[in-house]
């Protein structure tokens, strides 16, 4: 489906949702780019576009917190839907109040994002393209020795400015008290942050959570291939627990423990 047709159909779908919902979160053309915007019933939708994309689930989380009674629609890609599913599992988003207006990414977009599933389950607009089955960056690292991999990551993480962009832009990072801001885990006053505390603490928190949207990598000013480590963890999580982040609301994250009856006082 060409971009023009996709946009026309998406705008029609949003217009339809606006007959039921209080608003729809989608991208609006702005100064040569796009920004997340809440379209309301009666608004002109001619400047509703789909690129460059932003982490919509993160913003929907914010809007849902501000207006818990509101019924909101969201124009969502595959990754947006996956993020919403992970947020819903952790009680951050109430999916009963959300209407997902899913649209498909093109094969080119899927390749650029190295995306395994470039379409949402709630697909309303566009045709599902084939995803990338194996992350090529992970394949490159797999053939390295442990020493080579250590050297690779040491060099990459050394570029870090500690801007917190990867944390700020991650749709599944919602904790108001963040481990990455704790002196205990990430020593302050040092740039680059001491290896490997910042990045591996973040990676640990991405287990069962990262939905491979690539927003962290895209916003990293130092071009660190952050999600390559998360992809390795994703692979291990699937193998060890049969769990895939963002696949279903009913799948319980493997690292969420129920303390009652499992630990001794």
């Amino acid at each position: 489906m060409d971009e023009g047709t996709l946009l026309t159909e998406l705008r029609m779908a949003v217009s339809d949702t606006l007959t039921r919902a209080d608003g729809v979160l989608a991208l609006r053309a702005d100064h040569g780019g796009a920004v997340p915007h809440l379209f309301k019933p009666g608004n002109d939708l001619s400047d509703l576009i789909t690129e460059p994309r932003y982490p919509m689930a993160m913003i929907l989380d914010t809007l849902g917190d501000a207006w818990p009674e509101a019924r909101l629609g969201v124009a969502a890609r595959g990754c947006d839907e996956r993020a919403l599913i992970e947020l819903a599992k952790r009680n951050q988003v109430n999916l009963d109040q959300v209407e997902i207006i899913g649209f498909a990414c093109s094969a080119e977009q899927a390749t650029e994002c190295r995306c395994a599933k470039p379409y949402p389950d709630s697909l309303v607009v566009g045709e599902a393209a084939e995803g990338v089955t194996e992350d090529p960056r992970l394949a490159e690292l797999d053939v390295m020795s442990v020493e080579e991999r250590f050297a690779f990551w040491s060099a990459q993480y050394e570029k870090c400015l500690k801007c917190y962009g990867c944390r700020n832009f991650c749709p599944v990072c919602y904790c108001p008290i963040c481990a990455l801001e704790s002196e205990l885990w990430v020593e302050t006053g040092l740039l680059a942050p001491p290896f490997p505390s910042y990045h591996l603490v973040k990676a640990m928190h991405m287990v069962g959570r990262c939905i491979a949207c690539r927003e962290c990598e895209n916003t990293c000013p130092a071009d660190i291939p952050l999600t390559t480590v998360y992809a390795a963890l994703h692979r291990d999580t699937a193998e060890l627990f049969g769990y895939v982040a963002g696949r279903s609301v009913d799948e319980r994250p493997p690292l969420l423990l129920s303390l009652s009856g499992t630990m001794e006082d």
Partner: protein
């Protein structure tokens, strides 16, 4: 129920990254990077990510105040202007123009900074003009 994003330039360094201020029901709640910006390319530094923190900050001065008896007390604008003008004139008279230093700001407009340094140089007569980013 209003949510929109407003493009602006980061008030900190000279790189001039543009960013979006997230505005929820009339209040600035955070920022988003501007993905289309040719300089920043959708990235921000830690200052940029926190650029909106001062907008609604509780510590922002919202009225003129004077320190009296060790405490800051709100005063009227005309009283404040008289106080400042008087003390600047006194200091300049007693100790010379270079006894006064001027600290400009990245969070005001270019026009306001221009007036500020013009006041320092042409009215007070000192070159002691510096900038908050150098602190």
């Amino acid at each position: 129920m209003e949510y929109k994003n407003v493009l602006t330039v980061c008030p900190y360094c000279g790189a001039g990254c543009t960013l979006y201020l997230q505005v929820l029901d009339g209040k600035v709640i955070g920022v988003l990077p501007a993905k289309q910006h040719v300089i920043s390319e959708g990235a921000l530094c830690i200052k940029g990510w926190n650029a909106a923190a001062f907008v609604h900050h509780e510590d922002r001065v919202t009225q003129p105040m004077a320190r009296r008896n060790g405490r800051l007390e709100p005063i009227r604008w005309d009283e404040a202007l008289d106080l400042v003008a008087g003390r600047l004139a006194e200091t300049r008279q007693a100790h010379g123009p270079d006894a006064i230093g001027f600290l400009a700001s990245a969070k005001v407009t270019n026009e306001e900074n221009y007036l500020f340094q013009k006041f320092a140089r042409a009215v007070i007569g000192t070159n002691n003009v510096d900038h908050c980013a150098r602190l």
